[in-house]
């Protein structure tokens, strides 16, 4: 008898728990709905690609290949940036063609080389899916439409802020052991001799500007960047200054994924002419070599690595 009692109790417990689990997997907030959509291939033409195919959580929501393939292996021309730390960004995409996350969110869905699904069709699909129809109604009091789809994706992206790097720890808590002496030297170089700070400053180490670092020559390097939008000749080869949080996880680097390692990036800045001899419109800040020693290059690299959030450091060591 006692056994039966325990058994029933146990069974009831399992049922209750699984019901609770079932309920909690039904998104009840914009953020959790957006999270579900972000990794659901329902938003791509062939139902095989999701946002997270190119923006992978383990690489700070970026990718590790220069150009990520979209639907049916089609490719664009640019490197997928991290989607983390976007809450304070003034513009999105390398050329800044979207100014809010909501504006940005639907563009990859419809883009033929990314997810290749016209928005009207995407909305139809979501409305035919019982789970989404219910979830959107619960969260927005509306069935899926283009506006609330964008709101949900953007809300999820805004949760992806990271502010707990060894670097922040060092600055915030006065904990001198939070980073190595190499990181500290690197920070000084970054702010001084290496001139990085002139462009890379702010909470995410970029301001809202577009600059030309010399990766445009009109021949082999033909992405004209910002100029496509502004139609200004002076904007040729200008790109959004790359934010640098978690940068150690998001190789390769630059709008075209040209540099495979942080060391290649630093070598480039040290003497751009050596890598791209006939660039057009390179920023005056980069007109002369920096003359960094090997130790100094290493220090700057160590500093950049200290911007990796601790949640990833734990992942890496386990």
């Amino acid at each position: 008898m006692k056994k039966l009692y325990y058994f029933t109790f146990f069974a009831a417990f399992v049922i209750i728990m699984s019901m609770a689990a079932f309920n909690s997997s039904e998104p009840a907030t914009k953020e959790s709905l957006g999270e579900m959509l972000f990794s659901d291939p329902i938003l791509s033409g062939n139902r095989k690609i999701s946002c997270s195919s190119c923006h992978k959580a383990e690489f700070a929501f970026a990718d590790t290949i220069a150009i990520s393939p979209g639907v049916s292996g089609r490719t664009g021309t640019r490197n997928a940036p991290s989607v983390m730390n976007s809450a304070l960004q003034a513009s999105f995409f390398w050329d800044g063609r979207a100014s809010t996350l909501e504006e940005q969110a639907l563009l990859p869905v419809a883009n033929p080389v990314e997810m290749n699904l016209p928005i009207a069709l995407a909305i139809k699909r979501l409305n035919r899916d019982k789970k989404y129809r219910k979830a959107f109604y619960r969260v927005f009091n509306q069935y899926p439409n283009a506006t609330n789809l964008a709101l949900a994706l953007a809300a999820f992206e805004r949760t992806l802020e990271t502010n707990n790097s060894p670097f922040d720890d060092w600055r915030l808590t006065d904990n001198e052991n939070a980073v190595s002496t190499s990181v500290k030297r690197g920070f000084l170089l970054f702010n001084g001799k290496a001139r990085c700070f002139q462009c890379h400053f702010g909470p995410d180490f970029n301001n809202s500007e577009f600059r030309n670092i010399g990766l445009f020559d009109g021949k082999l390097l033909t992405d004209s960047g910002r100029a496509v939008l502004t139609k200004k000749k002076t904007d040729l080869g200008k790109f959004k200054i790359g934010p640098l949080r978690n940068i150690a996880l998001t190789a390769p680097y630059m709008h075209n994924g040209r540099f495979k390692t942080l060391r290649e990036v630093i070598d480039y800045y040290n003497d751009p002419d050596k890598v791209v001899p006939h660039s057009i419109g390179r920023d005056p800040l980069l007109s002369t070599p920096i003359n960094l020693s090997e130790q100094e290059k290493e220090d700057i690299e160590e500093f950049l690595k200290s911007l990796t959030d601790k949640r990833f450091i734990k992942d890496l060591s386990s």
Binding site: N85, N163, N164, D168, L172, T173, N191, F201
Partner: protein
């Protein structure tokens, strides 16, 4: 006579020392917050005993600069504006120095002015080590 001179010098140096080391009322953590459509923004300023300060936006460090307090005037410089240019602000403390307002005296750096001029920052409890 010499003795008096030295005594005075010593007294002055003690006063100076104790002013910068202990009674600099700005030492500590100060916070100001607002809410945007996109979400909350909190600016934290940490004034350290070594004449260095750090600024944080939503806990992300965005500036490290130098500062000095003389009477009620703040001299402040940072590499975003120009590390060699000291802007000046009048400090106005409220209550038991539990909040402070920065009022520009002179600052050619528009960005910094926009971030602090007129704002009232609240003091936070000391950082946990």
């Amino acid at each position: 006579m010499k003795k008096v001179f030295f005594a005075t010098m010593l007294a002055i140096s003690i006063i100076n020392f104790s002013f910068t080391e202990d009674t600099n009322p700005l030492i500590g953590r100060w916070e100001w917050s607002t809410k945007h459509v996109e979400g909350p923004l909190t600016i934290l300023a940490v004034f350290k005993t070594n004449g260095i300060y750090d600024g944080f936006a939503n806990k992300k460090n965005f500036v490290t600069g130098t500062y000095q307090v003389k009477h009620d005037t703040l001299f402040i410089a940072d590499p975003i504006c120009n590390a060699k240019y000291n802007a000046t602000y009048k400090l106005k403390f409220f209550g038991k120095q539990d909040s402070v307002q920065f009022n520009v005296i002179q600052d050619t750096c528009a960005q910094r002015r926009k971030g602090i001029d007129g704002f009232v920052y609240k003091r936070l409890p000391a950082a946990k080590k």
